[in-house]
């Protein structure tokens, strides 16, 4: 009788099979889901959008390549960081700033922590928070959407480390208009995204569609966006009812970076809780902070800071919402 297996046998520990999803598959699917969002940004802001996003992505990928352990670009997470960072910037950002943001986000938001999976704060938002603190004027100068595709929306090619010329046509964001001038914005424009703002805050419907796809594939946990959007809606409705000058829930939901943040950034599993109860809490915390900062804070928009603040609380939340181990609770005694 011949040996049925002439080759060497594979010996691994159990379990010997695994589910289909792997980390790179998840990451690259998120990248795929971001493509329509980027396309929408390009539709509104023209080639500037593509250039800014390319610069952040380049900064992120190069840093991952140079400082990170070898071969980690292929897992796709640095690509997400780069793309998302780009989507949070205004169309007119000088490319050197965008690039620097990518370097900073990956360098100090991810690699010093040990790379993929080890960081506590969302790397894209660390990069964005750095840029906003370093260059508050340039990062809050919002070009007006529209115009020819090839028109640059600002001094994109400002020489590295020099001050950009600010002569592009800019317009305040809906939140800025509301906070500083007490003016509202037409809801239709908000939903369609035809307003001033960062590249990714202008396409709420596209973002929602991408989120629905990822939630369906279970690549993101639907509880986080659901919790954030629900909290913002309820909280702002209450405030609107108490004081009618305050914006209503629809305005709150569709203005600013809330959609992008809720769907793509708060859902980063590395920087969000691992338990479902924790995810509800995390989302609710973000929702409350967003409304508080938008209404009582000094800044017109608070999504970034809300997410970063709740990121800091994640280890805490994880501890507090640890599930009850089987056979250790009340029912166990029964």
């Amino acid at each position: 009788m011949s040996t049925p297996l002439a080759r060497k046998l594979l010996v691994t520990a159990s379990p010997h099979v695994r589910s289909q999803d792997s980390t790179p598959v998840i990451m690259w699917n998120v990248v795929g889901a971001l493509v329509p969002v980027i396309a929408a940004a390009a539709w509104f802001f023209g080639v500037s959008a593509l250039l800014v996003i390319a610069a952040t992505a380049l900064g992120a990928l190069l840093t991952e390549r140079v400082i990170g352990r070898g071969g980690t670009i292929a897992d796709g997470s640095a690509m997400i960081t780069g793309l998302l960072l780009g989507l949070t910037l205004p169309a007119g950002s000088p490319l050197w700033m965008a690039f620097l943001g990518g370097v900073f986000g990956i360098g100090f938001g991810k690699l010093v922590w040990g790379g993929l999976g080890q960081n506590v704060f969302n790397p894209a938002l660390v990069g964005r928070a750095f840029l906003q603190a370093a260059f508050p004027v340039a990062i809050t100068t919002w070009p007006t959407p529209g115009g020819a595709f090839w028109t640059l929306k600002g001094d994109l090619f400002a020489f590295p480390f020099t001050r950009p010329n600010t002569d592009a046509i800019t317009s305040a964001t809906p939140l800025g208009l509301l906070k500083f001038e007490g003016k509202g914005t037409e809801l239709l424009n908000l939903v369609v995204g035809n307003t001033g703002g960062s590249l990714g805050e202008t396409a709420a419907l596209v973002i929602l569609a991408g989120g629905a796809f990822l939630a369906y594939k279970r690549y993101l946990n639907w509880r986080i966006p659901a919790s954030i959007l629900l909290t913002v809606a309820v909280f702002s409705t209450v405030i609107h009812l108490v004081d009618a000058r305050r914006p209503d829930a629809l305005f709150m939901l569709f203005s600013g970076g809330l959609m992008l943040g809720a769907v793509y950034m708060a859902t980063d599993m590395v920087t969000s809780p691992v338990t479902n109860r924790g995810r509800w809490l995390f989302g609710a915390g973000i929702g409350v902070l967003v409304v508080v900062i938008r209404i009582w804070g000094g800044l017109p928009e608070g999504v970034m800071y809300a997410i970063l603040f709740m990121n800091a609380l994640v280890p805490f939340i994880n501890r507090a919402t640890q599930p009850r181990v089987f056979g250790t609770g009340r029912q166990a005694a029964a």
């Binding site: 603190a133 480390f161 020099t162």
Partner: protein
């Protein structure tokens, strides 16, 4: 308390009295250099973090705080060392604090009289230096156990180490954060300042980067010697 064992270590006659528990004998240069390099108060011991972070947003503030601290270190070191035999063990901490607070107050008043603008910019952080763990630490661990010359040398070394660290941090922060040094424009009018650097997170980050750089150098040297071995 148990009686002191009667068998005391015999001191070699004429040699400087070496008390067990006190710092080992060293040359003056070594006493000074220790504070600057191997036991740098900021970069190695992480002492006096609050003044370090709070005042290093401009070079002038950094220098002022550094020099004032140097003055306090030397002065309090000298006094503590001179009176070390007379300060009873039980009240020594209180006495040290008193001595340090006196010198800090002096430094504060002198700064206010000579560089009022800097004094105003430092605000309460100048008197806060009293709580700087570095000062009490040197008094307790060094000055109280050695002669005045060594105490002064140590205070000078630590003060220099502190000042140099502050200069490094504040120069970086002012240069990137404002394009200038000592309020003199360096990087030109076209430079876009990184406001981040002069804000609180920039303070933490600058020190963080300094520590990362230091650790990188040390690690590389360790690898080299390992490879050589």
């Amino acid at each position: 308390m148990t009686a002191v064992p009667s068998v005391q270590p015999v001191q070699p006659a004429g040699a400087s009295a070496f008390v067990p528990g006190s710092p080992p004998p060293a040359t003056l240069a070594a006493d000074i250099w220790r504070g600057i390099a191997r036991e740098n108060p900021v970069l190695v011991q992480f002492l006096g973090m609050c003044p370090t972070m709070a005042v290093t947003n401009t070079l002038a503030n950094g220098i002022a705080m550094g020099v004032a601290t140097l003055f306090v270190l030397v002065g309090s070191g000298l006094i503590v060392s001179l009176f070390r035999k007379y300060i009873a063990h039980e009240v020594r901490i209180t006495s040290y604090i008193l001595i340090i607070a006196t010198f800090v107050t002096l430094a504060d008043m002198i700064l206010a009289a000579t560089f009022p603008a800097i004094s105003k910019a430092l605000g309460p952080f100048m008197p806060l230096n009293v709580a700087n763990g570095l000062l009490l630490g040197r008094a307790e661990a060094f000055a109280a156990k050695v002669g005045p010359v060594r105490a002064v040398a140590d205070g000078f070394g630590m003060g220099m180490g502190f000042t140099l660290s502050l200069v490094l941090l504040s120069a970086t922060r002012e240069l990137l954060g404002g394009g200038s040094l000592l309020n003199q424009d360096i990087l030109g009018p076209r430079f876009e300042p990184w406001v981040f650097m002069v804000m609180p997170p920039g303070g933490f980050l600058t020190l963080g980067i300094a520590l990362l750089g230091l650790a990188f150098i040390i690690e590389r040297r360790r690898r080299r010697t390992q490879e050589a071995a």
